[in-house]
């Protein structure tokens, strides 16, 4: 239940502004791939093109190919809704639906699409997803309480449970721990390690230790200057990026030297 992603010569635009230029990258199935780089270099923008969330913003478009096990996401006639149901996403800020209970938040992908599901199946799905997100023991006694009553870290794990409840092939995470404390971060990182047994995980992070801890392969993005497009500088095994990078800019970034 996981697929690989191959990106070929992808250019990402906001209107006429070229935000990310000429990215080609191969993301392996059942692995964790981390994107690192300075703010504004286009990591998140690029991540959002992988499940066609980029085009939700007015004027945003892409050129190039993104292949999910060989099928082009941007091919003619491809429905973005189908793409998104196969490639789930977790956002920077936890965003549970405030009008729904914890249980309904987990079932959101099913219920919002009006799919029929029996109570027994729904219970099983809720338990399986919350177990998968390491949240079951904390919330099993208050599934009918609102999701917004949880702590920030719990909310983020609820969002992960919500994402895996629709059983996607790939999970994209956009700085999932940037709003969390170290303990919640640890819980989410443990979770990412477990998730890679079943899913392809792509994570954007500002925290280089986090990238080193959780990822198998790391991509370094950089930007030449304000108004210039972001580029993929180097993509390799995580140990190579952090210990023996081939590019000077990568070495400067991971060792904390700039300019």
């Amino acid at each position: 239940m996981s697929k690989r992603i191959d990106v070929k010569d992808l250019n990402v635009y906001y209107g006429n502004f070229l935000a990310v230029e000429d990215v080609s990258i191969n993301i392996e199935a059942k692995s964790v791939t981390a994107f690192i780089g300075p703010s504004g270099c286009g990591k998140s923008t690029f991540l959002r093109t992988l499940n066609r969330m980029h085009e939700v913003l007015p004027g945003a478009r892409v050129e190039g190919e993104v292949l999910l096990d060989g099928d082009n996401l941007y091919g003619p006639g491809v429905d973005p809704v189908t793409v998104r149901s196969q490639i789930g996403m977790v956002f920077q800020r936890p965003n549970p639906f405030p009008t729904m209970s914890i249980r309904d938040n987990v079932l959101a992908g099913v219920k919002l699409n009006n799919q029929k599901i029996s109570k027994g199946e729904a219970d099983a799905l809720v338990e399986r997803s919350l177990q998968g997100a390491n949240l079951w023991n904390e919330v099993k006694d208050r599934l009918e309480k609102p999701g917004s009553g949880l702590s920030g870290g719990q909310q983020q794990r609820l969002c992960i449970a919500r994402a895996i409840a629709v059983e996607p092939q790939v999970i994209l995470m956009d700085e999932p721990c940037s709003a969390l404390d170290p303990i919640s971060t640890l819980a989410v990182e443990d979770l990412i390690n477990e998730l890679k047994d079943q899913y392809t995980v792509v994570i954007v992070t500002h925290n280089m230790q986090q990238a080193a801890r959780v990822s198998d392969r790391t991509a370094f993005f950089n930007i030449a200057g304000t108004g210039k497009p972001g580029k993929l500088i180097e993509f390799a095994e995580t140990s190579t990026i952090f210990n023996n990078p081939s590019n000077k800019a990568t070495e400067d970034y991971v060792s904390g030297r700039f300019g």
């Binding site: 009006n114 609102p146 919500r162």
Partner: protein
């Protein structure tokens, strides 16, 4: 000076140079007495007493504070006086209106049959008898109450779907296109339409479509919708705009279609604001008089059919009772009925406002743990 005011207590050095706690009350008492004395010289009236005392109070407190506490505290006291004074001035008309309507309306409202009977068959003869012979005042507002409820309900049924769908288009699909900008512009223009013009529009429209002289509750409802729609659009638009984009993106990322996202995530999140906005829009049009006079005419008997025949409403009932008393020689019973109707109208609007708050509370996203 401070030491003479509080001789029994040794004061902390930290609280030196402050007015005693009772200072405002003392100044108020002095200002009231002085004000009464000044007013007595030029002829006493309560309104003047209030004004003179307020000025004396402000001047006295600020002056005293300046002498004891310094200019910063004095400015603070002056600002407090201005703020509280403005608040009282704003409150005065409101209290006065409620008081007047209560005093004049309660005799009407407690008359037996006032809420349960219409004006059908009530002529000047009965009013004359009521004034001269002490017979009870006959007639009531049942027909007008019924008309108001029917017309407002129909207007709401027309306006809410149109207004809400317009707001959804503007926020979710408009993307600042020229169509969306044009709609926003016309909605703004519509907000400023005088209500009589809305009434004339509805009347002219139905004259042209149905036939000359068409005056029914439905025509009035259309006129009121013209006034309601822009209010509903505006308030719903604001409510939809404050739904965080993150929630929409969360739903999209789960593979939910846009229309389902709007229907099941965006609207439920904003429903409390939308519902209270609608209720306030109803409260806004329920008291309209002019558009109803030109569209629904005026009736003295009960009309249960909003689509046929003239129809009374509370504002037009008040208007006609005051302007054309049932008995021209003895207008008091008519005026009593008019005040009673006014009180009922105010109570209706208050209930609607309370309802809006209740709705907002019931539908608000829960945050409990």
């Amino acid at each position: 000076m401070t030491s003479t005011l509080t001789p029994a207590r040794k004061r902390s050095a930290l609280t030196k140079g402050q007015l005693p706690k009772f200072a405002p009350y003392a100044v108020l008492a002095v200002a009231l007495v002085l004000g009464a004395a000044i007013l007595a010289l030029i002829g006493f009236n309560a309104f003047g007493w209030g004004i003179v005392s307020a000025i004396l109070f402000a001047a006295g407190l600020v002056g005293w504070s300046a002498a004891v506490e310094g200019s910063r505290k004095a400015k603070d006291k002056l600002a407090t006086c201005l703020v509280v004074g403005s608040f009282l001035i704003a409150l005065l008309p409101l209290i006065s209106v409620i008081w007047t309507v209560l005093v004049n309306g309660i005799p009407g409202i407690i008359t037996p049959g006032f809420l349960g009977t219409s004006m059908n068959g009530v002529t000047g003869v009965y009013d004359n008898k009521a004034v001269e012979g002490g017979a009870p005042v006959l007639g009531g507002i049942y027909h007008a109450l019924l008309g108001t409820v029917q017309i407002t309900l129909l207007a709401t049924v027309i306006s809410v779907p149109v207004g809400l769908l317009t707001a959804i288009y503007l926020v979710e699909y408009g993307n600042d296109r020229s169509v969306a900008r044009a709609i926003t512009f016309f909605v703004d223009v519509m907000t400023g339409i005088p209500s009589i013009v809305a009434g004339l529009f509805a009347a002219a429209f139905f004259f042209a479509v149905v036939g000359p002289g068409t005056k029914t509750g439905a025509v009035a409802a259309v006129a009121l919708s013209v006034l309601m729609i822009p209010v509903v659009v505006r308030s719903s638009e604001e409510m939809l705009k404050i739904v965080p984009n993150e929630l929409r993106e969360a739903a999209y990322a789960l593979g939910v279609r846009k229309w389902r996202t709007i229907l099941k995530v965006v609207i439920p999140t904003a429903i409390s604001g939308i519902a209270s906005g609608v209720t306030l829009a109803i409260a806004r049009v329920i008291g309209e008089t002019a558009p109803i006079l030109v569209t629904a005419g005026f009736a003295t008997s009960i009309n249960n059919n909003v689509f046929g025949g003239w129809m009374a409403s509370l504002p037009t009932f008040i208007y006609t009772q005051i302007l054309n008393p049932t008995s021209p020689s003895n207008p008091d019973p008519s005026s009593q009925r008019a005040w009673g109707a006014a009180l009922v109208l105010i109570i209706l609007v208050m209930l609607l406002n309370l309802g809006a708050r209740l709705i907002a509370r019931v539908f608000a996203p829960k945050t409990g743990r």
